[in-house]
């Protein structure tokens, strides 16, 4: 065997093919991005262990991720919040984890997306399972997993084809094969779902500009929200009683040790807002939550300055609007004395 010769040829071919693969995806408009995976979340969760009562934790669903911009928050308060929100998730498992497993007694902003917050306490349901899997990962993560993530960051930042994106935006072999469709043996009615945000190492997330500039792209995301709304309408109704009870119990414990909670209802618009009003009307859900929680609470519809905000895909703000929303809502909170722990106060 001429193994040395084979090795040299193989290495050359690999370098050529991997370079060509990277260039191909860049020519298709794919660029390097970080993955919003469990490891990235766990790094922020680890910061909570050393957080003081001056610190602020952000929890909730993707609306908190998109709409609360860490730079603007820091500008206004001098404190950079710890972003723990999780897409498609109820905030309850993560809030429960912080209350039960840490000594944190600063401020927690809880984003209330009613369809998720009041959805369920069933551990097998997606709005619970997704955030709980992040909490479990953090508890059980190994040193090997930590170092794998650390080593993967430079690759994620520099190579477009290194991506954990799934579905229509996926570029790894499994996702590419998943796009091949023959016949209609099993009908998948879920519309193609783009990854329309970009996340940073501290989990500050911004909407991709294409969502703002390309209506067809934004409409494809809206179709997904409509798919979920339709699925929710035919599924079990919101479990207000158990979700409220679960949250209020943790809230009581958190307040007892000096912690402070702020509830925020981030903007939504168009048919999604209409659907939310039908399925989880404000009076029955948000207002009742605020009444029973006895904490500061801010609903976007209560402020003139937010009336003209329009979400490009009906559920999240563009980067520019998110910066505005964050700045303004922090000002409102400060004026209201809700951020009494922040350094600037």
């Amino acid at each position: 065997m001429h193994l040395k010769q084979s090795l040299i040829i193989a290495v050359t071919l690999v370098i050529i093919s991997v370079t060509a693969w990277e260039l191909f995806w860049r020519s298709q408009g794919v660029y390097p991005t970080l993955d919003d995976n469990e490891a990235l979340w766990a790094n922020q969760r680890a910061r909570v262990e050393k957080a003081t009562n001056n610190d602020i934790l952000l929890m909730g669903s993707s609306r908190v991720l998109f709409d609360m911009q860490l730079d603007q928050w820091q500008e206004q308060t001098g404190i950079r919040p710890i972003q723990l929100a999780s897409v498609g998730s109820s905030p309850l498992p993560i809030f429960h984890d912080v209350v039960e497993n840490t000594k944190f007694n600063g401020t927690i902003l809880v984003g209330v997306t009613p369809g998720l917050f009041f959805s369920t306490t069933n551990p097998d349901a997606q709005p619970w399972q997704w955030p709980q899997s992040k909490v479990d990962f953090y508890k059980k993560r190994t040193y090997a997993q930590m170092s794998n993530h650390l080593l993967s960051i430079p690759l994620q930042k520099n190579l477009a084809f290194i991506s954990e994106d799934q579905g229509v935006d996926g570029v790894k072999l499994k996702e590419l094969l998943g796009k091949i469709s023959i016949g209609n043996r099993v009908v998948d009615s879920m519309p193609p779902f783009h990854a329309f945000g970009e996340i940073a190492l501290d989990r500050n997330l911004k909407m991709k500009q294409i969502t703002v500039t390309d209506t067809a792209y934004a409409n494809s995301v809206i179709k997904v929200w409509r798919f979920f709304m339709k699925a929710a309408a035919s599924g079990p109704p919101p479990d207000k009683a158990s979700t409220m009870a679960f949250f209020l119990k943790d809230l009581k414990k958190f307040k007892a040790r000096g912690g402070q909670v702020i509830l925020v209802r981030c903007p939504s618009s168009g048919s999604l807002r209409f659907g939310e009003n039908m399925g989880v009307p404000r009076a029955n859900f948000w207002d009742d939550l605020v009444k029973q929680s006895h904490v500061k609470a801010y609903h976007f519809e209560d402020y003139e300055s937010f009336k003209n905000l329009k979400c490009p895909e009906e559920s999240h703000l563009s980067g520019k609007d998110a910066a505005y929303f964050t700045t303004e809502i922090v000002k409102i909170m400060k004026a209201d004395g809700a951020l009494s722990n922040s350094k600037n106060n």
Binding site: M1, L3, Y143, S147, N148, L173, I182, G183, R185, V186
Partner: protein, 471 residues
């Protein structure tokens, strides 16, 4: 640490750099390898390295005593100590909840209303592998089949050698410890072939098991519905491929990595899906475990030396315990029981209905063996009997209206991969990758190698755990 992870790439580069540097003499290199092996294991869960230390200490002391002790009673006591500690670890960490559950079920059938709380203790990675490996040393010392390890360092490295620590191959003392006595350096060809085997192993794991087959398996076995004939079969066939590529991939990586250090590890798989019958299968599938079970269980139980009934009983007990070795659940015991039954039926056939295997009936026999093996995989993969039974009824077309969960492309993909796997095993059954590679031109080998590596890179394994780690 997983072979298919970035940390391992960095780890291996550092280990190789230190191993081939002129900084250390051979003893220091072995110390470095031992330390690296503890790091390899400890990066998963540092406190559980203590179990490795205990197992190493106990078996080192037991081996030392067995080497000098002539009193048969005392020799037996030292052997029992080793067995007690190693099997005790397994009982506590792996079988505790299973035993407790069954105990609870039994006492509750008599109306005691006994309640237990699962202890939810973590299963130390690879515990079934390293305990079996160290036990083989003390048993061989007891039977005077092997020499005592010359130094504690050699023995500790034998127990902990990182390439095969968590998922085998399970290596016998005489095959590995003696390799540590003299300085080992891989030749250039050995080193390059080691890299090739590492690439091949990663290709099997990352591309074949995780990328091409795992989703179909998870979809089928994760479904709570009664499935269609095609879905049940394709999910099961996909699992037969997934578990082979996953485990054989690990073994191939381990053999390749060891070879890069100049250490030879035994083969663990020899194209098992090309087997002509079940005795042949167990000479080709997880060879180091099946030979362990043969030497330390089947033969001590009587083997074929005490008549037919005793032989069948020994065979069945061995396979049932072999099933239990894989996991603490009745489904694994049934898996072992089915293999035990197949082996007994095969022996009966050989006795009463012998026939000559030709190249014409051989492929049919291999296909029949593969089909029967697939039926056993149902019990191995299903989490509970209900799922297994639903799958079996669907596979035998007893649920004609069953749910479809796989797309046409999934069926085509699994069909092609498993079809090629079977054909490849059939044609490779009497040869090896090395022999085939020697016949290839260097350019063809390079292209095959590059394609495998490229596919590994674009599959970007997200560090999915090897299935056999849980055993």
């Amino acid at each position: 640490m997983l072979f298919n992870s970035l940390s391992f790439v960095v780890f291996l580069v550092i280990v190789l750099a230190l191993y081939y540097s002129k900084l250390f003499n051979w003893t220091s290199k072995k110390r470095m390898l031992l330390f690296a092996s503890y790091v390899f294991y400890g990066l998963w869960n540092p406190p559980l390295v203590i179990l490795l230390w205990i197992s190493t200490m106990v078996d080192w002391v037991a081996g030392k005593k067995l080497a000098v002790e002539d009193n048969q009673k005392r020799r037996k006591l030292w052997l029992m100590l080793s067995m007690f500690v190693n099997l005790g670890f397994l009982a506590f960490f792996k079988y505790r909840d299973f035993l407790l559950d069954n105990f609870t079920t039994v006492v509750n059938t008599y109306g005691y209303g006994y309640q237990t709380q699962p202890m939810d203790i973590i299963l130390p990675m690879g515990i079934s592998f390293y305990t079996f490996q160290t036990m083989s040393y003390t048993i061989d010392m007891y039977l005077r089949r092997t020499e005592r390890a010359k130094t504690f360092l050699d023995f500790a490295l034998y127990v902990t050698f990182f390439p095969q620590l968590v998922a085998g191959p399970i290596v016998r003392a005489q095959d590995l410890i003696s390799q540590f006595y003299e300085e080992k350096r891989a030749t250039v060809n050995q080193f390059i072939w080691g890299i090739f085997l590492l690439t091949l192993g990663l290709f099997q794991k990352v591309v074949m098991a995780d990328t091409l087959l795992s989703d179909a398996v998870d979809t089928v076995y994760g479904s709570d519905k009664i499935l269609n004939f095609w879905d049940a079969w394709m999910g099961t066939l996909a699992f037969s491929g997934q578990i082979f590529f996953d485990f054989a991939g690990y073994s191939t990586c381990a053999i390749g990595i060891a070879l890069m250090l100049g250490i030879i590890l035994p083969d663990n798989f020899k194209y098992p899906y090309g087997s002509l019958g079940f005795s042949d299968l167990w000479k080709r599938w997880h060879i180091t475990l099946s030979s362990w079970l043969r030497d330390y269980l089947y033969i001590p139980l009587g083997g074929n030396k005490h008549g037919v009934v005793r032989m069948y009983a020994a065979l069945m007990i061995t396979m049932l315990l072999g099933g239990l070795w894989h996991g603490a659940a009745w489904t694994f015991i049934v898996w072992g029981g089915l293999h035990g039954s197949y082996l007994i039926l095969e022996r009966l056939q050989r006795q009463y209905l012998p026939f000559k295997i030709t190249k014409w009936n051989g492929m049919f026999l291999a296909f029949t063996t593969f089909t029967c093996v697939n039926i056993t995989w149902v019990f191995f993969r299903a989490k509970e009997f209900k799922t297994a039974w639903n799958m079996i009824t669907s596979m035998f077309y007893l649920n004609p209206e069953g749910e479809k969960v796989l797309t046409s492309f999934d069926i085509l993909k699994v069909g092609m991969v498993i079809g090629l796997l079977f054909i490849c095993h059939w044609f490779m059954r009497n040869t090896s990758v090395e022999a085939v590679s020697k016949r290839l031109s260097p350019i063809v080998l390079a292209v095959v190698w590059a394609v495998m590596f490229f596919l590994v890179v674009i599959s970007q394994g997200s560090g999915e755990q090897f299935i056999y780690f849980q055993f």
